[in-house]
Amino acid sequence: MKKLLLTFFVVLCFAFVSFAAEILLEEPVIVTSAGQSPGALQFTVVAKMVSLDYKFDKLYKAEDVDMSQFKTFVIVVGASGKGLGAAGIDIEVEINRVLALAREAKDNGLKIVICNLEGASRRGESSDKIVTTLAPLASVYFVKSDANEDGFFTNLSEEAGVPMATFEMTVGLKDVLAQYFGK
């Protein structure tokens, strides 16, 4: 019984950071929010931990960005009524803004990361709509585990045949970034 429990917890612990870098991402990186939650700013805190070369603006517009200067586009998804309200935009405007950026990135050969950093608290109708809209353009998913309890991201990842890395705690993204960016 003890052995069984021990095995269970060992498996569980490994599952907390379960990923393998099936593609390698390159710098420099451009980061934006999709939904105006604080997740994108939190991403930059973790990015600094691995000295990632990035530029960040939560409201980048496609017409203002020269995507050819970058190799990877990170979209941190999280719909926040408060954040959208502060930015003076609604969810449709936000989706169109990010979609235009993602298309521009794809045209310029960037890899596109869709990241859920805030977990289950950023699963909901609006956040899910952002993810599914962007899904055809995704190169890889970085997902906090509790956002994927219903297999939402697993399904998207498997359907598109793109990799997904999960992490149990926010700071666990550091290991994901290190692995995917070869840090």
């Binding site: 003890k2 604080p38 700013l41 805190v45 973790v46 705690m169 926010t170």
Partner: protein, 560 residues
């Protein structure tokens, strides 16, 4: 050893499983024969009950709970804030209100805030940074109550708060979500980020603890030196330095001169129950009574709870009281307010007569109560078997207040200057030493025999007024228990705009309200927007005190 680790891991897993459950409706209430404390954190309620068990009175328990809440729920209230308290001990002829609301600094005036050409505040000055902070009143208020109505020493009632600050406060689902929602504000100022985030800016995870050692040290200074330990000397100097560094104007003199106000409660009745609440500088008590006075003109018991007919009446009455609030309410030390008229039954009848039971009013103007003149927060309630009642509502305003965290003290400064009208010419414009208009409404209810019956209150800005009134009505009109009354779905509206309704209101009521012509905003099933009520009710028939607490926050009542 291995067994112990396994058991610990399993326990951790179980705790985590429950921790991620966003809403636990069970175990919020408590009942006891001797005393009950209901507060927004279970640990704080437990602190209060332990004080009662040690022989403290209801005031001792309330003050211990209040200091503990400042540690355990630092996002909502604390040493850098202010509030209101109402006390009625069994031997007192009349309840007393302690107004420890913040005051505007002496250098602030009607043109204090920078406005753009459309009179909009620039750079969120009323909300973030030093200008948004008023002179805090919490320490003065809590210690005044303890010294004048309590029986225990500062050390006895503050020690539990110190212990929690040192042990660390649990990050619940609710606190995690609040920190995340206010992440950018916390990140704006390095002192806040150092305290409430980890690893240079990552939010603590659910189940982790946040240790507040500086706050423990500040509380120790208050234990040792009393009020002067906060309003004079090293702590005061640190507050002034940080607030001014962040653009504010609070001075050492402002802190040294902070003066709480002792007031008579505003008094009304609702279907033979007596309602005692706080007068201005809070608008809350007055408008709760005005709202209940209007609703008394309708047979809500027959109309039913949360039926479209009842919700329509609440909505129309709310329009009327908020029209009056915006026209008349302000700090009575600076402005004449028609308090007697606003709480008059006759005036309420004229307002009730304006309500069409079948369709909503399109526009509402303030009434004329002078004709009848002849007069982001937390709440805790304590009541004991002697009938001693204490209700405290206190706040730093928005969650995490102004974002200004005083280095080395753990103090988060309030942003209650945002409760002033930022332009000159209003009854509630900024003036030196003035108290900004509040909605905080700690409230006591006496039964038709005049006996202590219930203590309650809520956070939630202007929703406090309507939420407290709806909970009172749920109990008196619809016969609910205090916990049922707290759980029941709520509605809110101002004088104009749409009516906000909580998600659990029936689809039939929703459709009928639309049909009647209401504009509706559908909110979450248990939405913190509608406040978080904590109350205690005494059932004399069985001699038991019932505590109710709100799942819209982390509320839980404790009893013994």
């Amino acid at each position: 050893m291995r067994k112990a680790i396994l058991v610990s891991l399993m326990a951790l897993m179980i705790v985590s499983m429950f921790a991620v459950n966003p809403l636990n409706l069970y175990g919020r209430d408590a009942e006891g024969r001797n005393g009950v404390v209901a507060a927004a954190k279970p640990e704080a309620s437990e602190v209060g009950v332990k004080i009662l068990e040690m022989g403290g009175n209801a005031v001792d328990a309330a003050i211990a709970t209040a200091f503990a809440l400042g540690v355990l729920e630092p996002n909502a209230s604390g040493l850098g804030g202010g509030g209101f308290m109402i006390i009625q001990l069994a031997h007192m002829d009349e309840a007393v209100v302690i107004d420890f609301r913040e005051t505007a600094p002496s250098a602030a005036g009607p043109t204090f805030f920078n406005l753009d050409e459309r009179n909009r505040v620039i750079n969120n000055e009323t909300i973030i940074g030093g200008k948004s902070s008023g002179v805090p009143g919490e320490v003065a208020g809590l210690l005044y109550a303890l010294e004048n109505f309590g029986t225990m020493s500062r050390a006895q009632v503050i020690q539990p708060a110190i212990e929690w600050a040192e042990k660390g406060i649990p990050v619940t689902v609710n606190l995690f979500s609040i920190i995340n929602d206010n992440y950018e504000k916390i990140m704006m100022m390095e002192n806040g980020a150092e305290l409430y985030l980890k690893d240079g800016g990552i939010p603590y995870e659910i189940g982790e603890t946040i240790v507040l050692k500086d706050l423990a040290d500040t509380l120790r200074i208050i234990v040792e030196k009393g009020k002067d330990g906060f309003y004079k000397g090293e702590i005061a100097e640190k507050i002034v330095a940080e607030v001014q560094k962040r653009g504010g104007v609070i001075t050492l003199e402002d802190l040294a001169n902070y003066d709480l106000q002792i007031r008579k409660p505003v008094v009304g009745t609702y279907r033979d129950y007596t309602i005692l609440s706080v007068p201005p500088a809070s608008s809350g008590g007055t408008h709760i009574i005005e709202l209940l006075n209007i609703m008394e003109n309708f047979d809500l018991a027959t109309l039913g709870d949360n039926t479209p007919e009842t919700l329509h009446l609440w909505s129309e009455a709310m329009k009327l009281i908020f029209a009056d609030r915006s026209k008349y309410m302000a700090d009575t030390a600076f402005v004449d307010v028609p308090l007697t008229g606003l709480t008059s039954k006759e005036y309420a009848r004229t307002l009730a007569a304006k309500i069409d039971p079948n369709k909503p009013m399109e526009s509402v103007a303030a009434g004329d109560p002078w004709q009848y003149e002849s007069g982001s927060t937390t709440h805790l309630s304590v009541m004991d078997k002697e009938g001693n009642m204490v209700a405290i509502t206190k706040s730093i305003n928005y969650f995490f207040g102004s974002g200004v965290v005083v280095p080395g003290t753990g103090i988060i400064m309030n942003n209650h200057m945002d409760d002033f009208v930022p332009t000159p010419g209003s009854a509630n414009s900024v003036e030196p030493g003035k108290r900004p208009l509040s909605s905080m409404s700690p409230t006591l209810v006496l039964d038709p025999q005049g006996r202590p019956y219930m203590t309650l209150g809520s956070p939630g800005a202007t929703r406090i007024i309507t939420t407290v009134a709806q909970v009172i009505s749920n109990i008196i009109d619809h016969g609910m228990t205090i916990q049922q009354a707290i759980l029941a779905p709520r509605v809110f509206r101002m004088a104009s705009g749409s009516m906000s309704i909580e998600g659990r209101i029936s689809i039939n009521a929703y459709n009928k309200l639309l049909e009647m012509g209401h504009q509706l905003t559908l909110r979450g099933d248990y939405d913190a927007y509608f406040g978080g009520v904590h109350g205690v009710l005494y059932n004399y028939d069985i001699g038991i005190l019932f505590g109710g607490a709100d799942p819209r926050r982390d509320g839980q009542a404790f009893a013994f």
